[in-house]
C-alpha cells in the first residue's frame, strides 16, 4: 500500500504517531504527480518549494508537540481559483496567465495556518464555467477512472488529483454543482456548504450569490475535517454568515435512525442513465434498512432551475469579469490601437468561448429593455425554488437524489453543444439557487467501473447532519475504499 493511498485522517494519525513525516508525505505526492499527472493533467502548476517548506515547518511543530490543527502536515491541492500569494493563479484562463497575486485568500490563509502544505494549483473550467473541465484554456483534465473521460467540472482538476492520489484532499468551488458533480464522477465525497458558511474573500468570483467553497476528499470523515478548518465567519466577506460552525466530526457515527429522507419526484427524469438511477435507488433502499424513512416530496419548480441559473449566473459573471480589462493586471493586447481596442482585443483573446458566451448572455439579460423580462423574472423564480425547498424541509430532514443524470462522459462528447453541457447540472443547480448545503457521496459503480454519486441536500447550516447521513451509508459499503486504477 502506497503512502498516498491513505486518507487524510489516516495520514494525520501517522504524522501524530511520528511514523511518517509531512516532508515524506509531500514528497510522495510530488512523486505521484510526476508519475501520473502526465496522463491525468490535474495540475496547472506545482509549488514544490512552498509545499516542502510548509511540510518542514509542520514536522518541526509536530516534534515540538505543537500541531497547528488535526490535519497539520497533510498535503492538499487548491483549485486555481483561490488566490495564493506569490504563486501564479490563472483561473484556467489566458487572461490571467502569469498573474501573481499579492495576497492570500482567507481560506488559503486558514489552511496555511492549519499547517497543510499546498502541493499545487489544480485545473478547472475557465472561470468555473463548465461541467467537464474541457473549458480550461490549458487543456482538459482526464478522469483517473477512465482517461478518455472527463472528471467533471468545474473543479475537475481537484477531483482528479484526489482520485489519482496526487494529493490527499483538495478544495474546490461550487456554483451550480462544480464540487458535487466532479466528486460523483471520480468516486469522491464533496460538499458544497450553505451559502455564507465559507469565506469567498480571495476566491475569484464567478456568480457572487451562488459561489461557495468546499472540500473534496475520499472519505466523509476527511471531508468533515477539512470543512472544519474553513467554516468560519470572515470579516472581509460581507456575505459571510455570522453563524458558528459545530464540530462536524462529533456525531459523525450517529446514524440515520428516525430521520426522514425526502425523495423528490421531479429529480427522476427521462434521459437519466439507467445504471445511475438503479444505484441511487439502491442507496435509498439502504437508508431505509438503516432506519430512515423515505418520504416522497415535491419540488415543483425544479424544471425551471436550469433556466433560472443560466440567466442569473451569467448576469453576475458578466459584471464580475468586467475587471479583466488589461489595465491593472492580466493580458493586454499590445497591438491595440487606442483604449477601446485594447479592451476589446484583450478580452476577446484572453477569454475562452464558454466564458464569452456567458458574459454575452449575462450582459443581454441585464441590458436595458431586457432586465425585467430576464434578470428580475429569474430572481422571482429563484424565490419559488427556495420556497419549494423550505416547504419540503418542513416534512423531511434531508433530500436524496442522483448527483448527475449520467456517469462521467467522454471527452469531446458535449463540447459542441453548450445546452447539452448545461443539462449536466440539473440536479445540482437548485440547491445553489436556494443557498442550501449539498453533498455528493460515492454510491456505486456502473458495469464499466465508472463511479456514481448520491446527492444529499440539507437545511441551512445543517452540514453536520449531511455528513452524518453520508457516513451512515459509507460505513455499510466499501465504495469509498475503491481506488482509481491508475
Amino acid at each position: 500500500m502506497e503512502l498516498t493511498d491513505l486518507s487524510m485522517l489516516e495520514l494525520a494519525a501517522k504524522l501524530a504517531a511520528g511514523e511518517v513525516s509531512s516532508v515524506e508525505a509531500t514528497r510522495a505526492c510530488l512523486a505521484r504527480a510526476a508519475q501520473v499527472d502526465g496522463k491525468v493533467k490535474a495540475f496547472l502548476r506545482l509549488d514544490e518549494k512552498g509545499a516542502l517548506a510548509a511540510a518542514e515547518a509542520s514536522d518541526a511543530r509536530r516534534k515540538a508537540g505543537n500541531p497547528a490543527s488535526p490535519l497539520d502536515g497533510v498535503p492538499i491541492g487548491l483549485k486555481d481559483i483561490f488566490l495564493t500569494e506569490g504563486v501564479e493563479t490563472t483561473c484556467a484562463s489566458r487572461i490571467l496567465e502569469g498573474f501573481i497575486p499579492p495576497y492570500d485568500g482567507t481560506v488559503v490563509s486558514l489552511l496555511k495556518q492549519a499547517g497543510l502544505p499546498i502541493v499545487g494549483k489544480l485545473n478547472m473550467d475557465e472561470f468555473a464555467m463548465g461541467s467537464s473541465n474541457e473549458g480550461s484554456a490549458y487543456g482538459p483534465t482526464h478522469n483517473p477512472w477512465a482517461l478518455d473521460r472527463t472528471p467533471g467540472g468545474s473543479s475537475g482538476g481537484s477531483a482528479a488529483a484526489v482520485a489519482a492520489r496526487e494529493v490527499f484532499g483538495a478544495l474546490g468551488t461550487d456554483t451550480g454543482g462544480s464540487i458535487r458533480q466532479p466528486a460523483a464522477f471520480t468516486n469522491l465525497v464533496g460538499i458544497k456548504p450553505t451559502y455564507g458558511r465559507v469565506s469567498r474573500y480571495g476566491v475569484i468570483a464567478y456568480a457572487s450569490s451562488l459561489d461557495q467553497v468546499g472540500p473534496m476528499a475520499r472519505t466523509v470523515a476527511d471531508t468533515a475535517a477539512l470543512l472544519q478548518l474553513i467554516a468560519r465567519h470572515d470579516p472581509l466577506d460581507s456575505t459571510s454568515a455570522p453563524v458558528e460552525a459545530p464540530d462536524y466530526r462529533e456525531d459523525l457515527e450517529g446514524g440515520v435512525r428516525g430521520l426522514k429522507l425526502g425523495v423528490p419526484r421531479e429529480y427522476f427524469i427521462e434521459g437519466m442513465d439507467p445504471e445511475v438511477e438503479a444505484k441511487v435507488r439502491q442507496a435509498m433502499a439502504a437508508y431505509e434498512r438503516l432506519g430512515a424513512t423515505l418520504v416522497e416530496v415535491s419540488l415543483p419548480h425544479t424544471k425551471y432551475a436550469l433556466a433560472t441559473y443560466y440567466l442569473l449566473a451569467p448576469a453576475e459573471a458578466s459584471s464580475n469579469l468586467a475587471r479583466y480589462d488589461g489595465v491593472r493586471y492580466g493580458l493586454r493586447a499590445k497591438d491595440a490601437k487606442g483604449l477601446r481596442e485594447m479592451y476589446g482585443l484583450s478580452r476577446d483573446r484572453g477569454f475562452g468561448s464558454e466564458v464569452k458566451r456567458r458574459i454575452m448572455l449575462g450582459t443581454y439579460a441585464l441590458s436595458a429593455g431586457y432586465y425585467d423580462a430576464y434578470y428580475v423574472r429569474a430572481q422571482k423564480v429563484r424565490t419559488l425554488i427556495r420556497q419549494d425547498f423550505a416547504k419540503a424541509f418542513e416534512q423531511v430532514d434531508a433530500i436524496l437524489s442522483p448527483t448527475s443524470p449520467v456517469p462521467a462522459f467522454k471527452l469531446g462528447e458535449k463540447t459542441d453543444n453548450p445546452l447539452a453541457m448545461y443539462l449536466m447540472d440539473v440536479f445540482t443547480l437548485p440547491c445553489n439557487l436556494a443557498g442550501l448545503p449539498g453533498l455528493s457521496l460515492p454510491c456505486g459503480f456502473t458495469k464499466s467501473n465508472l463511479p456514481i454519486g448520491l446527492q444529499i441536500l440539507g437545511k441551512p447550516f445543517d452540514e453536520a447532519r449531511l455528513l452524518r447521513i453520508a457516513r451512515a451509508f459509507e460505513r455499510e459499503h466499501d465504495y469509498s475504499r475503491r481506488l482509481a486504477p491508475l
Partner: protein
C-alpha cells in the same frame, strides 16, 4: 420672444467626499495628495477575488446628513452595481445605490431676492468614488491613479426647483455650509471634494411641460456654476427661438472659452445595467442609530444665522460672516457670554481678529487660537470702561494672538493702561492750560485750530495714556467751548 418669456428650470446633483479616515469598502486612507497608488489595496484596486465591507461611519454620515436636511431615512436600502468600462473604475462597475437610496425627500431653504424659498431634495445616497486619470504627462498615454478609488461619496440630488443661476449658487453654498457644519465634508470645490453637476432646461412661462434638459459637468467653482448655467439658459433660449430643438445630452463647461461643449464619443447612451449588488446584503439602519445621530445634530447654519440676528441683534451681514464657520460662531457666542456689546464684539471679529487670522496665512485658525473667549471679552470690557484705548487694545490683541498671554498681564507689562480718571486728567489739563496761557487766549480769540496743540500737550504730559475722549471733553469745557 425675449429671454424673459422663458423660465429656467435647474436641478443640481452634488457629490460630496466624506471626511472619513478610511475608504468606503476597505481600510485604505482617504488622505489627499499621496504619491499615485500609495493608498491602495487589493479591494480598491479591483484585484480578482476581493469583496467590499462597509465603513460604518459612511452610513452614520449619510444618516446625519439626511436628518439635517429633513429627509426620511430608509430603514432598509440596497446597494447596486453601475456597470461601465473606464480605466479609473477598477472593478468595471461602481458600487452605488440606484433604486433604493438611504435617504429621500428632504429640503433646503435658501434666501432669494423674493424671500425664502424651499428647494426639495429628492434623494441622498452613498457610493464609491472612482480613481483619477491624467492625460498630458506621457505621450499617447493616460496615467491612472487609484488613490481616490473607493473614497466615500454622498450624492445629493435636488428636484428641479431652482429658477436661476443665482438660486443655484445660493443652494450650493447653503448645502455646502450644512455639510461643513455637520463635519461630513470639507466643502472644497477647487480640490474636488465637493462637486456639482447641473441639469438645465427652459420652458416658456405658462407652460406645464418641462423642456429637454441638458447635464452640465466639470464645474469646480461657484463662479463657473453661475457662468455655465447662465450660458446654458441663454443657449437653450437661442436654439428654441430659432426654431431648433435641444438635444438631451451631457455638456462640459469650458472655463477658457466660457461656453459649454457637447461631450464627444457618446455614440451610444450608457446602459449601466444596474442590478442589486450581491456582495453586500441590504443595509439596515437601526432606530438607535437614527436617534443617536438626531441627538448629535449641531445647530445648522440657517437657524443659527437667524438666531444670531434675533438674539444678538446683529445685522444680517454681520451674522452671515460670524456663522460662516461653526467654530467661529461658537467662539463668538462664548465671548458674548461675557461682553454684552454684541455689535462691538462683532466689529472686532470682522476687523482685528479677521486680520490677524488672515495674516497667519492659515497657520492659525479660530480653533487653534492661543487665547480664550473670556480673555477677548476681558479686553473689550477694558476698552468699554475706558481703561484701554482702542489702538492700545489692538496691540494687546496682537500680543495675545502671538503669545497667548492674558490681557491684563500684557497691559501691565507694556504700561498701556489708559487714564480715565476724570480728576487725574483734569489736573493735567489745568496744568497745561496754566502753562500755555498765551495759546489759551489765542484759542479763545478764535484760533480754533490750536486745539490740537492742547491735546498734544496733555497727551505728552500723560505719556499718551490719557483717555482721548475725556481729554477732549475736559479741554473743551475748560476752554469754554
Amino acid at each position: 420672444m425675449p429671454l424673459s418669456d422663458f423660465q429656467p428650470v435647474i436641478g443640481l446633483e452634488v457629490h460630496a467626499q466624506l471626511l472619513t479616515k478610511s475608504k468606503i469598502f476597505c481600510g485604505c486612507s482617504t488622505e489627499f495628495g499621496a504619491e499615485p497608488n500609495r493608498n491602495t489595496c487589493p479591494v480598491c484596486l479591483g484585484l480578482p477575488g476581493v469583496l467590499p465591507v462597509l465603513n460604518q461611519r459612511v452610513m452614520e454620515f449619510a444618516v446625519r446628513t439626511g436628518l439635517a436636511l429633513g429627509c426620511t431615512i430608509k430603514k432598509t436600502s440596497i446597494w447596486s452595481r453601475k456597470n461601465y468600462f473606464y480605466p479609473d473604475l477598477p472593478k468595471g462597475y461602481q458600487i452605488t445605490q440606484f433604486d433604493q437610496p438611504i435617504c429621500e425627500w428632504g429640503k433646503l431653504t435658501i434666501d432669494t431676492p423674493e424671500g425664502e424659498k424651499v428647494i426639495r431634495i429628492r434623494r441622498i445616497h452613498m457610493e464609491e468614488d472612482a480613481g483619477k486619470s491624467v492625460h498630458d504627462v506621457a505621450v499617447g498615454e493616460s496615467l491612472v491613479d487609484l488613490n481616490r478609488a473607493g473614497v466615500p461619496l454622498l450624492e445629493i440630488v435636488s428636484e428641479p426647483d431652482l429658477r436661476s443661476a443665482d438660486e443655484a449658487v445660493e443652494y450650493l453654498k447653503s448645502l455646502r455650509d450644512v455639510l461643513v457644519y455637520l463635519g461630513v465634508n470639507d466643502g472644497n470645490m477647487e480640490e474636488g471634494s465637493f462637486r456639482c453637476d447641473a441639469n438645465v432646461s427652459v420652458m416658456r412661462k405658462g407652460e406645464t411641460q418641462y423642456g429637454t434638459r441638458v447635464e452640465l459637468k466639470n464645474i469646480n467653482s461657484f463662479r463657473f456654476i453661475k457662468q455655465a448655467i447662465e450660458y446654458e439658459i441663454g443657449r437653450h433660449v437661442e436654439v428654441i427661438e430659432s426654431g431648433g430643438k435641444i438635444d438631451q445630452e451631457t455638456r462640459l463647461w469650458d472655463t477658457q472659452r466660457y461656453e459649454s461643449r457637447s461631450m464627444r464619443s457618446k455614440e451610444e447612451a450608457h446602459d449601466y445595467r444596474y442590478f442589486p449588488e450581491p456582495d453586500l446584503p441590504p443595509l439596515h439602519v437601526p432606530d438607535a442609530l437614527i436617534d443617536q445621530m438626531a441627538q448629535g445634530l449641531p445647530e445648522l447654519p440657517r437657524p443659527k444665522l437667524q438666531r444670531f440676528m434675533s438674539q444678538y441683534g446683529l445685522p444680517a451681514y454681520d451674522a452671515k460672516l460670524l456663522c460662516a464657520e461653526r467654530p467661529l460662531a461658537e467662539f463668538f457666542e462664548a465671548c458674548a457670554q461675557h461682553s454684552k456689546d454684541y455689535k462691538k464684539l462683532s466689529n472686532w471679529f470682522q476687523g482685528e481678529l479677521a486680520r490677524l487670522l488672515n495674516e497667519s496665512g492659515g497657520a492659525v485658525t479660530i480653533s487653534t487660537l492661543k487665547f480664550t473667549p473670556a480673555q477677548l471679552a476681558e479686553l473689550l470690557t477694558a476698552v468699554e470702561k475706558g481703561t484701554l484705548s482702542n489702538n492700545a487694545a489692538k496691540d494687546v490683541l496682537g500680543e495675545m494672538f502671538r503669545t497667548g498671554k492674558a490681557p491684563d498681564a500684557i497691559i501691565a507689562e507694556k504700561g498701556l493702561a489708559q487714564v480715565s480718571d476724570t480728576g487725574a486728567v483734569e489736573a493735567v489739563v489745568d496744568e497745561i492750560l496754566a502753562k500755555n496761557a498765551g495759546e489759551v487766549e489765542k484759542y479763545r480769540a478764535g484760533k480754533k485750530q490750536i486745539f490740537g496743540f492742547f491735546v498734544g500737550q496733555v497727551m505728552k504730559a500723560m505719556k499718551g495714556k490719557g483717555n482721548p475722549t475725556l481729554v477732549n471733553d475736559l479741554l473743551k469745557k475748560k476752554l469754554g467751548d
